[in-house]
Amino acid sequence: MRLLAGARGEAKVLAGGQSLMPMLNLRLAHPDLLIDINPADQREPSLDGNTLRLPALTRHRVLLEHDLVRRGCPLLAEAVRYVGNVRVRNRGTIGGSLAHADPTSEIGCCALASGAQVVARGPAGDGQSDRTVPVSDLFAGYWATTLAESEIITDVLIPAARPGTGWSFHEMVRRTSDFAIVAVAVTVNLAERNGAIAAAHVALAGVADRVVLADPELTAGLMGSTADEDLDAAAARIAERLEPASDVHASGAYRRRLARVLTARALRQARARAAGEST
Protein backbone atom coordinates (compact mmCIF):
# COMPACT_ATOMS: atom_id res chain seq x y z
CA MET A 1 0.00 0.00 0.00
CA ARG A 2 2.92 2.28 0.81
CA LEU A 3 4.52 1.52 -2.52
CA LEU A 4 1.28 2.32 -4.28
CA ALA A 5 0.72 5.56 -2.41
CA GLY A 6 4.28 6.74 -2.73
CA ALA A 7 4.83 5.88 -6.38
CA ARG A 8 6.36 8.48 -8.65
CA GLY A 9 4.91 8.13 -12.09
CA GLU A 10 2.31 5.55 -12.99
CA ALA A 11 1.95 2.55 -10.73
CA LYS A 12 -0.12 -0.55 -11.41
CA VAL A 13 -1.08 -3.42 -9.20
CA LEU A 14 -0.32 -6.87 -10.58
CA ALA A 15 -2.55 -9.67 -9.36
CA GLY A 16 -3.48 -12.46 -11.83
CA GLY A 17 -2.03 -10.51 -14.72
CA GLN A 18 -4.44 -11.96 -17.26
CA SER A 19 -5.69 -8.50 -18.26
CA LEU A 20 -2.70 -6.33 -17.39
CA MET A 21 0.10 -8.41 -18.90
CA PRO A 22 -1.44 -8.49 -22.39
CA MET A 23 -1.52 -4.70 -22.27
CA LEU A 24 2.18 -4.63 -21.43
CA ASN A 25 2.95 -7.18 -24.14
CA LEU A 26 1.04 -5.10 -26.69
CA ARG A 27 2.81 -1.96 -25.50
CA LEU A 28 -0.55 -0.35 -24.63
CA ALA A 29 0.47 0.40 -21.06
CA HIS A 30 3.84 1.65 -19.81
CA PRO A 31 3.69 1.75 -16.01
CA ASP A 32 6.74 3.04 -14.20
CA LEU A 33 6.07 0.72 -11.29
CA LEU A 34 4.45 -2.67 -11.18
CA ILE A 35 3.51 -3.95 -7.73
CA ASP A 36 3.11 -7.70 -7.53
CA ILE A 37 0.59 -8.38 -4.77
CA ASN A 38 0.39 -12.13 -5.29
CA PRO A 39 2.51 -12.99 -2.24
CA ALA A 40 0.48 -10.59 -0.05
CA ASP A 41 -2.39 -12.87 0.94
CA GLN A 42 -2.60 -16.63 1.35
CA ARG A 43 -6.09 -16.82 2.88
CA GLU A 44 -8.75 -19.18 1.65
CA PRO A 45 -12.45 -18.49 1.19
CA SER A 46 -14.33 -18.55 4.47
CA LEU A 47 -17.86 -18.30 5.78
CA ASP A 48 -18.44 -15.44 8.18
CA GLY A 49 -21.92 -16.10 9.57
CA ASN A 50 -24.09 -15.68 6.49
CA THR A 51 -21.43 -13.93 4.48
CA LEU A 52 -19.12 -15.67 2.10
CA ARG A 53 -15.77 -13.92 2.43
CA LEU A 54 -13.57 -14.27 -0.62
CA PRO A 55 -10.06 -12.85 -0.39
CA ALA A 56 -9.43 -10.63 -3.39
CA LEU A 57 -6.61 -12.89 -4.51
CA THR A 58 -8.88 -15.93 -4.74
CA ARG A 59 -8.15 -17.50 -8.10
CA HIS A 60 -11.00 -18.20 -10.51
CA ARG A 61 -10.18 -21.89 -10.37
CA VAL A 62 -10.82 -21.85 -6.63
CA LEU A 63 -14.19 -20.18 -7.21
CA LEU A 64 -15.00 -23.05 -9.54
CA GLU A 65 -13.94 -25.83 -7.21
CA HIS A 66 -14.16 -24.64 -3.60
CA ASP A 67 -16.96 -26.22 -1.65
CA LEU A 68 -17.87 -23.00 0.20
CA VAL A 69 -18.32 -21.16 -3.07
CA ARG A 70 -20.31 -23.89 -4.72
CA ARG A 71 -22.68 -23.94 -1.78
CA GLY A 72 -22.55 -20.30 -0.77
CA CYS A 73 -22.81 -18.74 -4.19
CA PRO A 74 -23.59 -21.36 -6.82
CA LEU A 75 -24.33 -18.57 -9.29
CA LEU A 76 -20.71 -17.49 -9.18
CA ALA A 77 -19.36 -21.03 -9.36
CA GLU A 78 -21.46 -21.62 -12.47
CA ALA A 79 -20.50 -18.36 -14.17
CA VAL A 80 -16.78 -18.89 -13.63
CA ARG A 81 -16.97 -21.83 -16.04
CA TYR A 82 -17.36 -19.21 -18.74
CA VAL A 83 -14.37 -17.15 -17.66
CA GLY A 84 -11.40 -17.59 -19.96
CA ASN A 85 -9.64 -20.92 -20.11
CA VAL A 86 -7.69 -23.16 -17.71
CA ARG A 87 -4.64 -20.89 -17.69
CA VAL A 88 -6.68 -17.75 -17.11
CA ARG A 89 -8.53 -19.42 -14.23
CA ASN A 90 -5.31 -20.62 -12.61
CA ARG A 91 -4.02 -17.07 -12.29
CA GLY A 92 -6.92 -14.64 -12.59
CA THR A 93 -8.39 -13.36 -9.31
CA ILE A 94 -11.83 -12.18 -8.23
CA GLY A 95 -10.44 -8.92 -6.89
CA GLY A 96 -8.53 -8.28 -10.07
CA SER A 97 -11.59 -9.02 -12.15
CA LEU A 98 -13.78 -6.59 -10.22
CA ALA A 99 -11.08 -3.90 -10.21
CA HIS A 100 -10.62 -4.28 -13.96
CA ALA A 101 -14.34 -3.58 -14.44
CA ASP A 102 -14.74 -5.09 -17.87
CA PRO A 103 -18.27 -4.37 -19.08
CA THR A 104 -18.63 -7.99 -20.26
CA SER A 105 -17.40 -9.54 -17.01
CA GLU A 106 -19.21 -12.69 -15.86
CA ILE A 107 -17.89 -12.21 -12.34
CA GLY A 108 -19.01 -8.60 -12.18
CA CYS A 109 -22.42 -9.69 -13.36
CA CYS A 110 -22.79 -12.33 -10.64
CA ALA A 111 -21.42 -10.05 -7.97
CA LEU A 112 -24.11 -7.50 -8.82
CA ALA A 113 -26.92 -10.02 -8.91
CA SER A 114 -25.82 -11.47 -5.57
CA GLY A 115 -25.68 -8.14 -3.78
CA ALA A 116 -21.96 -8.46 -3.16
CA GLN A 117 -19.71 -5.86 -1.56
CA VAL A 118 -15.98 -5.25 -1.77
CA VAL A 119 -13.65 -4.16 0.99
CA ALA A 120 -11.36 -1.40 -0.25
CA ARG A 121 -8.19 -0.64 1.64
CA GLY A 122 -6.57 2.78 1.49
CA PRO A 123 -2.99 3.99 1.74
CA ALA A 124 -2.86 3.79 5.51
CA GLY A 125 -2.90 0.08 4.84
CA ASP A 126 -3.72 -0.78 8.39
CA GLY A 127 -7.30 -1.87 7.93
CA GLN A 128 -8.54 1.08 9.97
CA SER A 129 -9.64 3.03 6.96
CA ASP A 130 -11.13 0.10 5.05
CA ARG A 131 -14.39 0.94 3.43
CA THR A 132 -17.06 -1.46 2.30
CA VAL A 133 -18.42 -0.67 -1.14
CA PRO A 134 -21.47 -2.37 -2.61
CA VAL A 135 -20.56 -3.70 -6.06
CA SER A 136 -23.57 -1.72 -7.32
CA ASP A 137 -21.52 1.39 -6.48
CA LEU A 138 -18.24 0.06 -7.79
CA PHE A 139 -18.38 0.24 -11.59
CA ALA A 140 -17.97 3.68 -13.09
CA GLY A 141 -17.75 3.13 -16.85
CA TYR A 142 -15.54 1.35 -19.37
CA TRP A 143 -12.79 -0.33 -17.29
CA ALA A 144 -13.24 2.22 -14.52
CA THR A 145 -14.20 1.91 -10.86
CA THR A 146 -15.01 4.33 -8.08
CA LEU A 147 -11.92 3.19 -6.19
CA ALA A 148 -9.26 5.80 -5.47
CA GLU A 149 -5.96 5.34 -7.26
CA SER A 150 -4.28 4.29 -4.05
CA GLU A 151 -6.99 1.82 -2.99
CA ILE A 152 -6.90 -1.94 -3.39
CA ILE A 153 -9.70 -4.47 -3.02
CA THR A 154 -8.83 -6.89 -0.22
CA ASP A 155 -12.02 -8.92 0.13
CA VAL A 156 -15.25 -9.66 -1.66
CA LEU A 157 -18.25 -10.26 0.57
CA ILE A 158 -21.23 -12.16 -0.78
CA PRO A 159 -24.42 -12.87 1.14
CA ALA A 160 -24.58 -16.65 1.21
CA ALA A 161 -27.44 -18.09 -0.83
CA ARG A 162 -30.42 -18.80 1.42
CA PRO A 163 -32.52 -21.88 0.96
CA GLY A 164 -35.34 -21.10 -1.43
CA THR A 165 -33.18 -18.78 -3.51
CA GLY A 166 -33.09 -19.60 -7.16
CA TRP A 167 -30.29 -18.50 -9.45
CA SER A 168 -29.39 -18.71 -13.11
CA PHE A 169 -26.60 -17.63 -15.36
CA HIS A 170 -26.92 -17.43 -19.16
CA GLU A 171 -24.35 -16.24 -21.60
CA MET A 172 -24.12 -15.89 -25.33
CA VAL A 173 -20.60 -16.08 -26.64
CA ARG A 174 -19.36 -16.50 -30.22
CA ARG A 175 -16.65 -18.94 -29.20
CA THR A 176 -16.29 -20.81 -25.91
CA SER A 177 -13.95 -19.03 -23.49
CA ASP A 178 -14.21 -15.66 -25.19
CA PHE A 179 -15.53 -12.42 -23.76
CA ALA A 180 -19.30 -12.60 -23.42
CA ILE A 181 -21.44 -10.92 -26.02
CA VAL A 182 -24.24 -10.69 -23.47
CA ALA A 183 -24.45 -12.40 -20.09
CA VAL A 184 -27.28 -12.37 -17.57
CA ALA A 185 -27.18 -13.35 -13.90
CA VAL A 186 -30.41 -13.68 -11.96
CA THR A 187 -31.30 -14.41 -8.37
CA VAL A 188 -34.87 -15.01 -7.37
CA ASN A 189 -36.53 -15.58 -4.02
CA LEU A 190 -39.94 -17.10 -3.65
CA ALA A 191 -42.44 -16.38 -0.91
CA GLU A 192 -42.71 -19.44 1.30
CA ARG A 193 -46.45 -19.54 1.54
CA ASN A 194 -47.40 -19.52 -2.13
CA GLY A 195 -44.20 -19.89 -4.20
CA ALA A 196 -44.74 -16.50 -5.82
CA ILE A 197 -41.79 -14.27 -6.53
CA ALA A 198 -40.77 -12.20 -3.54
CA ALA A 199 -37.52 -10.75 -4.86
CA ALA A 200 -35.65 -10.76 -8.13
CA HIS A 201 -32.30 -9.32 -9.13
CA VAL A 202 -31.16 -9.22 -12.73
CA ALA A 203 -27.64 -8.18 -13.72
CA LEU A 204 -26.46 -7.90 -17.31
CA ALA A 205 -23.05 -7.78 -18.96
CA GLY A 206 -22.21 -6.70 -22.47
CA VAL A 207 -25.06 -4.22 -22.73
CA ALA A 208 -23.52 -0.96 -21.56
CA ASP A 209 -20.27 0.68 -20.53
CA ARG A 210 -20.37 -1.34 -17.35
CA VAL A 211 -22.09 -4.38 -15.91
CA VAL A 212 -25.55 -3.20 -14.90
CA LEU A 213 -28.17 -4.17 -12.37
CA ALA A 214 -31.66 -3.89 -13.79
CA ASP A 215 -33.67 -1.15 -12.17
CA PRO A 216 -35.80 -2.69 -9.42
CA GLU A 217 -38.90 -0.97 -10.78
CA LEU A 218 -38.56 -3.14 -13.89
CA THR A 219 -38.77 -6.32 -11.83
CA ALA A 220 -41.33 -4.88 -9.45
CA GLY A 221 -44.08 -6.26 -11.66
CA LEU A 222 -42.85 -9.73 -10.90
CA MET A 223 -43.61 -9.57 -7.24
CA GLY A 224 -46.31 -12.01 -6.36
CA SER A 225 -46.24 -13.55 -9.82
CA THR A 226 -46.29 -17.22 -10.64
CA ALA A 227 -46.63 -17.01 -14.43
CA ASP A 228 -43.92 -17.46 -17.08
CA GLU A 229 -45.50 -14.68 -19.18
CA ASP A 230 -44.73 -12.21 -16.40
CA LEU A 231 -41.11 -13.26 -16.51
CA ASP A 232 -40.97 -12.75 -20.27
CA ALA A 233 -42.63 -9.36 -19.93
CA ALA A 234 -40.12 -8.30 -17.30
CA ALA A 235 -37.31 -9.42 -19.57
CA ALA A 236 -38.75 -7.36 -22.39
CA ARG A 237 -39.04 -4.28 -20.17
CA ILE A 238 -35.45 -4.66 -18.99
CA ALA A 239 -34.12 -5.06 -22.51
CA GLU A 240 -36.09 -2.12 -23.86
CA ARG A 241 -34.28 0.25 -21.50
CA LEU A 242 -30.87 -0.76 -22.76
CA GLU A 243 -28.85 1.16 -25.34
CA PRO A 244 -25.91 -1.11 -26.02
CA ALA A 245 -23.10 0.05 -28.29
CA SER A 246 -22.14 -1.85 -31.43
CA ASP A 247 -18.73 -3.39 -31.99
CA VAL A 248 -17.07 -5.88 -34.31
CA HIS A 249 -18.71 -8.82 -32.56
CA ALA A 250 -22.31 -7.66 -32.30
CA SER A 251 -24.52 -4.69 -33.01
CA GLY A 252 -26.30 -2.80 -30.25
CA ALA A 253 -29.67 -3.94 -31.56
CA TYR A 254 -28.64 -7.58 -31.44
CA ARG A 255 -27.30 -7.18 -27.90
CA ARG A 256 -30.59 -5.72 -26.79
CA ARG A 257 -32.41 -8.63 -28.37
CA LEU A 258 -30.11 -11.14 -26.72
CA ALA A 259 -30.62 -9.38 -23.40
CA ARG A 260 -34.36 -10.01 -23.65
CA VAL A 261 -33.96 -13.66 -24.67
CA LEU A 262 -31.32 -14.51 -22.08
CA THR A 263 -33.03 -12.61 -19.29
CA ALA A 264 -36.26 -14.48 -19.95
CA ARG A 265 -34.43 -17.80 -19.96
CA ALA A 266 -32.53 -16.93 -16.81
CA LEU A 267 -35.63 -15.77 -14.93
CA ARG A 268 -37.43 -18.98 -15.81
CA GLN A 269 -34.55 -21.15 -14.77
CA ALA A 270 -33.97 -19.21 -11.55
CA ARG A 271 -37.60 -19.48 -10.58
CA ALA A 272 -37.62 -23.18 -11.34
CA ARG A 273 -34.56 -23.69 -9.18
CA ALA A 274 -36.09 -21.70 -6.36
CA ALA A 275 -39.14 -23.91 -6.50
CA GLY A 276 -36.93 -26.99 -6.37
CA GLU A 277 -37.87 -28.11 -9.87
CA SER A 278 -35.35 -29.93 -11.99
CA THR A 279 -33.94 -27.71 -14.68
Binding site: L14, G17, P22, L34, R87, S177
Partner: protein, 160 residues
Protein backbone atom coordinates in the same frame (compact mmCIF):
# COMPACT_ATOMS: atom_id res chain seq x y z
CA UNK B 1 16.33 -1.35 -16.41
CA UNK B 2 18.56 -2.94 -13.79
CA UNK B 3 18.82 -6.67 -14.14
CA UNK B 4 18.49 -8.91 -11.15
CA UNK B 5 19.60 -12.42 -10.47
CA UNK B 6 17.02 -15.11 -9.89
CA UNK B 7 17.01 -18.87 -9.70
CA UNK B 8 14.52 -20.67 -11.87
CA UNK B 9 13.87 -24.35 -11.35
CA UNK B 10 13.08 -25.67 -14.78
CA UNK B 11 12.38 -29.34 -15.36
CA UNK B 12 13.98 -30.11 -12.00
CA UNK B 13 17.19 -28.26 -12.74
CA UNK B 14 18.30 -25.02 -11.12
CA UNK B 15 19.25 -22.14 -13.37
CA UNK B 16 20.81 -18.92 -12.11
CA UNK B 17 19.90 -16.14 -14.48
CA UNK B 18 20.14 -12.40 -14.83
CA UNK B 19 16.78 -11.07 -15.90
CA UNK B 20 15.16 -7.69 -16.37
CA UNK B 21 12.08 -7.27 -14.15
CA UNK B 22 10.04 -6.76 -17.32
CA UNK B 23 11.15 -10.04 -18.89
CA UNK B 24 8.33 -12.52 -19.17
CA UNK B 25 8.82 -16.15 -18.22
CA UNK B 26 8.41 -16.96 -21.92
CA UNK B 27 11.26 -14.61 -22.87
CA UNK B 28 13.57 -16.13 -20.32
CA UNK B 29 12.73 -19.76 -21.04
CA UNK B 30 12.84 -19.41 -24.82
CA UNK B 31 15.60 -16.87 -25.38
CA UNK B 32 17.48 -17.13 -22.10
CA UNK B 33 17.51 -20.88 -21.67
CA UNK B 34 17.00 -21.86 -25.32
CA UNK B 35 13.93 -24.00 -24.62
CA UNK B 36 12.27 -24.35 -27.99
CA UNK B 37 9.16 -26.03 -26.63
CA UNK B 38 7.82 -22.82 -25.07
CA UNK B 39 6.74 -20.55 -27.90
CA UNK B 40 5.43 -17.09 -28.59
CA UNK B 41 2.06 -17.25 -30.33
CA UNK B 42 0.05 -14.16 -29.43
CA UNK B 43 1.16 -12.34 -26.27
CA UNK B 44 -2.46 -12.23 -25.10
CA UNK B 45 -2.80 -15.56 -23.29
CA UNK B 46 -5.29 -16.76 -25.88
CA UNK B 47 -3.44 -19.28 -28.02
CA UNK B 48 -1.68 -21.55 -25.52
CA UNK B 49 1.64 -22.05 -27.30
CA UNK B 50 3.55 -20.63 -24.34
CA UNK B 51 1.88 -22.93 -21.81
CA UNK B 52 4.13 -24.13 -19.01
CA UNK B 53 3.32 -25.78 -15.68
CA UNK B 54 4.05 -23.48 -12.75
CA UNK B 55 4.10 -25.58 -9.61
CA UNK B 56 2.14 -28.12 -11.64
CA UNK B 57 -0.54 -25.73 -12.93
CA UNK B 58 -0.83 -24.66 -16.57
CA UNK B 59 -0.20 -20.94 -17.01
CA UNK B 60 0.63 -18.67 -19.94
CA UNK B 61 4.36 -18.02 -19.94
CA UNK B 62 3.78 -14.72 -21.73
CA UNK B 63 1.61 -13.40 -18.88
CA UNK B 64 3.97 -14.16 -16.02
CA UNK B 65 7.08 -12.16 -15.29
CA UNK B 66 10.21 -14.24 -14.87
CA UNK B 67 10.79 -12.74 -11.43
CA UNK B 68 7.38 -14.03 -10.34
CA UNK B 69 8.51 -17.58 -11.12
CA UNK B 70 11.70 -17.34 -9.10
CA UNK B 71 12.16 -20.32 -6.82
CA UNK B 72 9.10 -22.09 -8.21
CA UNK B 73 8.88 -25.29 -10.23
CA UNK B 74 8.57 -24.68 -13.93
CA UNK B 75 7.83 -27.66 -16.13
CA UNK B 76 7.94 -27.64 -19.91
CA UNK B 77 7.13 -30.52 -22.24
CA UNK B 78 10.70 -31.70 -22.31
CA UNK B 79 10.52 -32.11 -18.56
CA UNK B 80 8.06 -34.96 -19.05
CA UNK B 81 10.48 -37.16 -20.91
CA UNK B 82 12.67 -39.86 -19.42
CA UNK B 83 16.45 -39.60 -18.97
CA UNK B 84 17.33 -40.94 -22.40
CA UNK B 85 14.69 -38.80 -24.07
CA UNK B 86 12.21 -41.61 -23.56
CA UNK B 87 8.78 -40.56 -24.56
CA UNK B 88 6.12 -39.99 -21.94
CA UNK B 89 3.11 -42.26 -22.54
CA UNK B 90 1.06 -39.21 -23.58
CA UNK B 91 3.63 -38.44 -26.25
CA UNK B 92 3.42 -42.01 -27.48
CA UNK B 93 -0.34 -41.64 -27.79
CA UNK B 94 0.06 -38.43 -29.78
CA UNK B 95 2.43 -40.19 -32.16
CA UNK B 96 0.23 -43.21 -32.61
CA UNK B 97 -2.86 -41.14 -33.26
CA UNK B 98 -1.27 -38.65 -35.62
CA UNK B 99 -2.22 -35.85 -33.23
CA UNK B 100 0.39 -33.39 -34.47
CA UNK B 101 0.74 -31.79 -37.89
CA UNK B 102 2.81 -28.62 -37.79
CA UNK B 103 3.49 -29.32 -34.12
CA UNK B 104 3.48 -25.73 -32.93
CA UNK B 105 0.56 -26.16 -30.53
CA UNK B 106 1.64 -29.61 -29.39
CA UNK B 107 3.66 -28.89 -26.22
CA UNK B 108 0.94 -26.63 -24.84
CA UNK B 109 -1.76 -29.19 -25.67
CA UNK B 110 0.09 -31.96 -23.93
CA UNK B 111 0.87 -30.05 -20.76
CA UNK B 112 -2.75 -28.96 -20.47
CA UNK B 113 -4.01 -32.49 -21.13
CA UNK B 114 -1.62 -33.96 -18.61
CA UNK B 115 -2.78 -31.55 -15.93
CA UNK B 116 -6.40 -32.41 -16.68
CA UNK B 117 -5.92 -36.15 -16.46
CA UNK B 118 -3.78 -35.95 -13.32
CA UNK B 119 -6.25 -33.76 -11.46
CA UNK B 120 -9.27 -35.67 -12.64
CA UNK B 121 -7.81 -38.90 -11.36
CA UNK B 122 -6.34 -37.48 -8.16
CA UNK B 123 -9.62 -35.76 -7.29
CA UNK B 124 -11.39 -39.10 -7.59
CA UNK B 125 -13.40 -38.23 -10.69
CA UNK B 126 -11.87 -41.00 -12.78
CA UNK B 127 -10.71 -40.37 -16.28
CA UNK B 128 -12.09 -37.24 -17.98
CA UNK B 129 -14.75 -37.63 -20.65
CA UNK B 130 -14.18 -36.45 -24.19
CA UNK B 131 -16.37 -33.40 -23.49
CA UNK B 132 -14.33 -32.55 -20.40
CA UNK B 133 -11.16 -32.83 -22.47
CA UNK B 134 -12.64 -30.46 -25.06
CA UNK B 135 -13.48 -27.94 -22.38
CA UNK B 136 -10.04 -28.13 -20.82
CA UNK B 137 -8.40 -27.50 -24.19
CA UNK B 138 -10.41 -24.46 -25.32
CA UNK B 139 -7.43 -22.27 -24.55
CA UNK B 140 -5.06 -24.30 -26.72
CA UNK B 141 -5.73 -23.35 -30.30
CA UNK B 142 -4.77 -25.56 -33.22
CA UNK B 143 -5.10 -24.54 -36.84
CA UNK B 144 -3.97 -27.76 -38.51
CA UNK B 145 -5.64 -30.84 -37.08
CA UNK B 146 -9.27 -29.96 -36.45
CA UNK B 147 -8.68 -31.33 -32.91
CA UNK B 148 -10.13 -34.82 -33.44
CA UNK B 149 -6.86 -36.74 -33.36
CA UNK B 150 -5.68 -34.70 -30.38
CA UNK B 151 -8.80 -35.69 -28.46
CA UNK B 152 -8.34 -39.32 -29.53
CA UNK B 153 -4.76 -39.31 -28.27
CA UNK B 154 -5.68 -37.81 -24.92
CA UNK B 155 -8.55 -40.24 -24.45
CA UNK B 156 -6.21 -43.13 -25.19
CA UNK B 157 -3.79 -41.80 -22.61
CA UNK B 158 -6.53 -41.23 -20.08
CA UNK B 159 -7.72 -44.81 -20.53
CA UNK B 160 -4.26 -46.00 -19.65
Amino acid sequence: MTQRQITLIVNDRDHELWVAPSDTLLDVLHDGLGLADVRYGCGEGVCGTCTVLLDGEPVSGCLILAVQAAGRQVTTLRGLMGPGEELHPLQECFLRRGAAQCGFCTPGMMLTALDLVRRSVSQGRGRPSRDEIRYALVGNLCRCTGYTKILDAIEEYADQ
